[in-house]
Symmetry: C2
Subunit: 415 residues, 2 copies
């Protein structure tokens, strides 16, 4: 087993080779990876069975066991994901700007790979192949560190991908898995200045916070989503109920699900019961402020911790607000700057909300669940960035690059 530092050095050597590859080589290698995943599906299922057995022995919840589980159809989904990335346009080598300066210097700004991307993830083993495909296609070597629950699955998938990359003429070290799943290995990745160019955490709020607090290498924060929906005085109540229902219940565990409902006081008496009736279809628990509880007898009183909480399940916090200013203040205080929506028929309210909410995605009359690379038309994504540097929102292939200036002259010197 290599140390994290050795993995970093190997990745740095691999990224130099990978950066020289033409698009066709990367595409062919990824198609070979997809084929290999399908061919070796029995091996993946067997490795996954070890993880599932360990999970059951450790009393893992049914929901987590389901996330961990890989069957034939999920493995085919992984292969398809890799093929989809292979079909996308190469994000490297695009000329984003160019000029001939008065002194004759010819300057171009071109996209280049980031270098070595570290990914710390907690979720499903398919992140392994998804993230590796995006990194390889964007010319980046990657170092993947998953959780211990999925270590056997991840090791099998990584081994299969590495073999396929090598057969296709790329260095196997374009994709490396950290086999040590201790806290120390994550901490070491966070400190690997000079060897990891960017670290992307994919997981719950605790992981994101740990990375942001401790990382010395540059980080792209992803995923923590405390999304708000504000139902304005002028809202169409049926639309509001549909959107809140969709945003809360269509997939409550994901980061673009709604966690908090804010309702203008002048519409609260009609809107809250209508929304609550829809949410009752899925037994959503509402944790409300005093006014909400007075309107909805079924609501439980919210505690201070419920504001800004990512419930990840069938729970929604709710508050009645004085006006749009109070809604904006609440959002700018508790939001993780992921996705927020206003439901309104007022032009003025819609424009104010779009302008003044400081989040990656701001919606008028639509569900927050649309914040997603596929839904935006960008293809596969490695996460949703909630930070302001580099890239915001769905992180696709085009965001996994940096740029450099290349300048051609014939002896120019500066006065």
């Amino acid at each position: 087993m290599f140390t994290i530092c050795e993995l970093g050095e190997r990745a740095q050597r691999a990224r130099v080779q990978l950066a020289k590859c033409e698009t066709g080589v990367k595409t062919a290698a990824l198609l070979a990876v997809a084929d290999a995943i399908e061919e070796h599906r029995a091996e993946i299922v067997a490795a996954n069975a070890l993880d599932l057995r360990a999970g059951r022995e450790n009393n893992m919840s049914a929901q987590l066991l389901d996330r961990l589980s890989l069957d034939e159809s999920r493995i085919q989904g992984m292969a398809k994901g890799v093929r989809d990335v292979a079909k996308e346009e190469d994000p490297v080598g695009r000329v984003r700007w160019g000029a001939v300066r008065p002194n004759g210097l010819r300057i171009e700004k071109v996209t280049v790979p980031l270098g070595v991307v570290g990914i710390i993830f907690e979720a499903r083993p398919n992140v392994c192949s998804d993230a590796a495909a995006l990194c390889v296609m964007s010319g980046n070597a990657c170092i993947l560190r998953g959780g211990k629950e999925a270590i056997n699955s991840n090791m099998a998938i990584a081994r299969i991908m590495r073999d396929a990359l090598e057969k296709a003429g790329l260095p196997a070290d374009c994709v490396q898995l950290v086999e040590d799943t201790s806290r120390e290995s994550a901490a070491q990745m966070m400190a690997l200045t000079g060897l990891i160019d960017v670290l992307i955490p994919r997981g719950g709020a605790g992981l994101i916070r740990a990375v942001v607090e401790n990382a010395r290498v540059p980080v792209i924060e992803t995923g923590a989503g405390v999304c708000h929906i504000y139902v304005d005085e002028s809202a169409d109540i049926d639309m509001a109920a549909d959107i809140v229902y969709n945003a809360k219940t269509s997939r409550p565990s994901v980061c673009n699900a709604a966690e908090c409902l804010l309702v203008h006081k002048n519409i609260a008496h009609s809107a809250l019961p209508a929304i609550a009736a829809r949410l009752a279809e899925k037994d959503v628990e509402i944790r409300g402020d005093a006014l909400t509880c007075s309107i909805l007898p079924s609501a439980k009183p919210a505690t201070p911790e419920d504001w800004g909480m990512e419930f990840g399940g069938y729970i929604l916090s709710a508050a009645v607000v004085e006006d749009i200013d109070a809604a904006l203040e609440h959002i700018n205080r508790y939001s993780t700057k992921h996705s927020e929506a206003i439901i309104t028929e007022s032009y003025q309210s819609s424009e104010r909300f779009l302008r003044e909410v400081d989040s990656a995605a701001v919606y008028v009359n639509a569900s927050t669940r649309f914040t997603d690379g596929g839904e935006f038309g960008f293809g596969a994504e490695i996460g949703i960035s909630t930070q302001k540097l580099h890239a915001r929102g769905p992180l696709g292939l085009v965001n996994l690059v940096s740029e450099k200036y290349i300048i051609r002259g014939e002896g120019q010197t500066r006065c």
Copy 2:
């Protein structure tokens, strides 16, 4: 005197107001700032005199005293700098991408301010007005922390700018100065998660390293420049001598000055003496490897620390290399990824160098000294980014923004 945390909270309130301002308001406010700087020049000169006296008492070097000193013409230069920024195009509110999705959602990606920008600087007091102007024009509140040597000058400049901004209808807290110049105040800024959106260190390698090692808030690294020039086998020797002379001696203290010369072994016997002869005009000390010293009797032997060293003065390290591969290896090992140049008449060498050197700016047959916002045609800059996230190379107004997605619908929900 406010605590750093209070400064952060005040800046957050100010940025909300500033983000709502139209371009005309920001332009008018900056023009008023420029006028105020000129009107109050006597006040600035008087404050500067206190710093100069303290500097002399502390035996500050003549070079540093010169940097610190503000006279009428330098103050006019500061005012002109602010006016130049006011004339630039507003980087906020540009629509960078848009689409109507098949489900009717209308998505736009628009530029927005970063929020609150922290700037820790060591250099001249004019950084105060330059940085503040760039931040205000890009809609960002800024928290400036200069060195203790310039504290009186910085306080005078900040006070004058704040008064002018307030009279022009912007919150004075758009620009705040940290008056505590202890190490602790810098450390507190680095930890101000949630209140400082981006921290930009402007100064020497020690400052940059401290920020990168310790900051929890997102950072844009700037400035550390260990720039290399590689003289290829096929180089025009006169051109090589001109470019090395220019890159080393035209302003040796800046980050785009050359620090290391690499020469192909087949041209070393003719190129090194020619280059050394030019450098001798400015008494440049050459610290060479064994082969360089055998060719140039005047060269001193380089120590291992000389490779990768930012001399900042009239010293140049020099090595003879086997071939372009050895040059690339040396550069990728010791460079700070700022600016590197190749001098060559070979098409193949030029293309390899451009492709394989992983630096912000890569030159063929031109001086590294051109890496500069003005020289690239970008206008004023807040520094030269040497990192791969967010922005690389000269950081101008257009790099001081983030973006967000705004999405307009009519009730869409996700399947």
